[in-house]
């Protein structure tokens, strides 16, 4: 955390409305309809899952903090609001976002090491020339107008822990939900505190059946716990209760609803985010790593984007 979110470049320049974001992407697509029809790519969220998995692989041997991975994911999103993915080598952009994010989150890695690791993972797509990464870093910074600080929801989560007397199971689940929200557009659509509150609501309402046990790694996703929830009507009823602030249901949830009502947090945004997240878990069931890999590989190779 640094500086003040309310005065931040994130809030002033990188917070989109849904309409604005859709419009931005439509404009990108309209510029290059041919490539779009030539290279249909999987759902953006599935690609995001793939990218995230690649980032985690990349970070594995460097003992990277989750926050750096999260920052890298936001960089990717920002970058691809201005650039058509089909014109880039996603593996290079991904590696660069990771490299820059590590510097930003004060866990810098040497450029050679990062390139070496990336080459180990994707030898076909990353050249041994480190200057490529350096150059891409420069482009990435330019595209983001050198606005580099990302405010994440993690800190709000830990700050609210005592206030809402959240148990360790709930914290772990909320943390994983935050990890997962980077797979959606939510970081571009909401301020971090909305996401943190959404994650808490999800964690409390859809309490994990085996508290603690399932979430050993901080990079873990809540997907395994949440997979069935999307189809499960229970949770949605709870959300409905949140929406009209009647505070029905178990006391634990009543307390949360009351807190939310008093906090003057944008409940509508919280609920929308929750729905977005749940639909992510639905989409997730179609995810196939192999599929994404092939799609991207074909696109990069046939367009010679790796050169």
């Amino acid at each position: 955390m640094a500086a003040n979110y309310w005065a931040s470049t994130q809030r002033r320049h990188w917070l989109f409305t849904r309409e604005k974001l859709a419009e931005t992407r439509d404009r990108l697509r309209d510029r290059d309809k041919v490539t779009h029809s030539q290279f249909p790519l999987p759902d953006q969220r599935l690609l995001n899952i793939y990218f995230n998995q690649q980032l985690i692989k990349l970070g594995k041997r460097m003992s990277t903090r989750q926050q750096a991975i999260a920052t890298a994911q936001v960089y990717l999103k920002r970058f691809y609001t201005k650039n058509e993915i089909r014109q880039t080598n996603p593996y290079l952009v991904l590696t660069t976002a990771f490299y820059l994010a590590c510097k930003m989150e004060e866990c810098p890695q040497h450029i050679r090491f990062v390139v070496g690791e990336a080459r180990g993972l994707w030898p076909e797509f990353i050249t041994p020339d480190v200057a490529k990464l350096g150059e891409c870093e420069f482009a990435l910074m330019s595209e983001m107008n050198s606005q580099l600080i990302i405010h994440h929801p993690y800190r709000t989560l830990s700050e609210l822990q005592t206030e809402l007397s959240l148990g360790s199971g709930e914290i772990a689940l909320a943390w994983s939900v935050i990890n997962d929200h980077y797979l959606t557009d939510l970081p571009l659509l909401n301020p971090p505190h909305i996401i943190a509150v959404m994650a808490i609501v999800v964690a409390v309402v859809f309490k994990p059946s085996h508290p603690g046990g399932a979430f050993s790694s901080p990079a873990q996703s809540a997907q395994s716990t949440m997979a069935g929830v999307a189809r499960d009507g229970n949770g949605m009823n709870m959300l409905a209760a949140l929406a009209d602030r009647t505070g029905t249901g178990p006391p634990r949830i009543q307390k949360l609803v009351q807190w939310l009502a008093e906090s003057e947090i944008d409940i509508k945004a919280v609920i929308e985010s929750t729905q977005e997240l749940l639909s992510l878990y639905e989409v997730w069931e179609q995810y196939s790593e192999k599929h994404c890999k092939e799609f991207i590989g074909r696109m990069v190779k046939s367009k010679n984007l790796d050169k």
């Binding site: 640094a2 500086a3 820059l100 004060e106 480190v130 490529k132 482009a139 910074m141 330019s142």
Partner: protein, 399 residues
């Protein structure tokens, strides 16, 4: 054609990718081929949009004469067309061929100055990239820096002037800390002076956000003479107190007109601090002996902690209340040291003499060369002296 960061020309169509465009906007001059023109007319204006944006930013500025060059940047005088104001343009030397990526200093500076806006923090107006270099458009500060005023024996100043300067410094530091940013290189030549006399905290090349609790940070920061004892002892977890110590050292230097504790080596710095303020012990600083580089002092050699009398005697110009503020900034134990916000609440500010108004402060005119020198130097470097501080070394993995 020059290699682009991520895409080369599509073989099927003779258009360049947008990112080639980014690259080309920089290298069009040297490429000499027709490719630059191809890009301009390409059917993929997307990258060009950024390019245009970038260019429109760049075109808003006219680069004037070179003011200075340092280890990591070249500083030019510049002119902003739309507002007709003078600016300083700091061109960061990108390592040849991008071999090492962007320097951490440049990244940190951009990172923090993009977000911080305060009258006592140097303003970053714009950032643009041109000719493969990163350009920071900074506030033009022709008044030189505090170091110049301290050293120039022709300049006379008094307690009221010091109070004004220290007030501006304290507000700048408070603002950084309030925003969870540690400056980590406060010293007189990073305190630049605007045409109207306002002091501006500059050089955020060593700045970082407060670490999450229990995460380590490097102790190799802050130019030695301004470095607090906890960093000299190798503390890896620290707070805004490190900047407050530096502020205290600047205060003392303003009063004495020479650096107060100026060690030749890190060890010498520790012994000079002990001589001046007393030996850190478990009694005056619980836990100090656990710090990695703590040096045991023979009990016969222990110097007792300096009290109010010492500060009043040593710094008569500050007056007893001023000496009290200085003492609380130089408290050995960082936990007992005054914080920036507490310092601002100290009664010294409200007693006489009142701080001098900016327009009446002693000033240097046309000291833009000095500004340029300060802006182009790496933090932790002491005036081109041969001993290089390790401050800028990247602390890989260790945070």
């Amino acid at each position: 054609m020059a290699a682009s960061p991520f895409a080369s020309r599509s073989p099927s169509m003779t258009v360049a990718s947008p990112n080639t465009a980014i690259r080309l906007k920089a290298s069009a001059a040297q490429s000499g081929s027709g490719s630059a023109a191809d890009v301009k007319t390409s059917s993929q204006p997307n990258g060009e949009l950024t390019e245009q944006l970038n260019n429109s930013v760049a075109q808003n500025y006219e680069r004037g004469k070179k003011l200075g060059e340092g280890t990591y940047a070249v500083v030019y005088q510049g002119f902003r067309r739309d507002t007709a104001t003078t600016v300083a343009i700091k061109k960061i030397k990108v390592n040849a061929d991008y071999k090492d990526g962007l320097a951490m200093d440049a990244i940190r500076e951009v990172k923090y100055l993009q977000e911080l806006s305060h009258p006592n923090v140097i303003a970053l107006h714009d950032v643009f990239s041109k000719h493969e270099n990163l350009h920071l458009v900074l506030e033009f500060l022709p008044g030189g820096d505090l170091e110049m005023l301290i050293r120039d024996q022709n300049v006379q100043y008094g307690a009221a002037d010091i109070k004004a300067w220290m007030g501006m410094l304290a507000r700048g530091v408070w603002f950084c800390h309030e925003n969870y940013v540690l400056h980590r290189d406060i010293k007189p030549n990073n305190l630049l002076i605007a045409a109207d006399g306002e002091v501006k905290l500059a050089d955020f090349g060593l700045a970082r956000s407060f670490a999450d609790p229990y995460l380590n940070m490097t102790h190799q920061v802050i130019t030695r003479w301004y470095r607090p004892p906890e960093l000299l002892y190798g503390a890896r977890q620290y707070s805004g107190a490190v900047d407050v110590w530096s502020m205290g050292m600047v205060f003392a230097e303003l009063l004495l007109r020479v650096p107060f504790v100026a060690g030749n080596t890190d060890l010498d710095q520790i012994s000079k601090i002990c001589e001046a303020f007393g030996t850190p012990t478990e009694e005056n600083w619980p836990g100090v002996t656990k710090l990695p580089y703590y040096i045991e002092t023979d009990s016969s050699q222990i110097i007792p902690t300096s009290g109010r009398d010492f500060f009043s005697r040593q710094f008569p110009t500050a007056g007893p209340v001023g000496a009290d503020l200085l003492m609380s900034m130089c408290t050995l134990d960082p936990r007992k040291r005054i914080t920036a916000v507490q310092a601002l609440r100290h009664k010294w500010w409200t007693i006489d003499p009142q701080p001098t108004k900016n327009e009446d402060l002693p000033q240097k005119r046309h000291a833009e060369k000095k500004m340029a020198e300060d802006m182009s130097r790496r933090g932790g470097e002491v005036n081109d002296s041969p001993f290089k501080n390790a401050a800028r070394q990247l602390d890989f993995g260790g945070r």
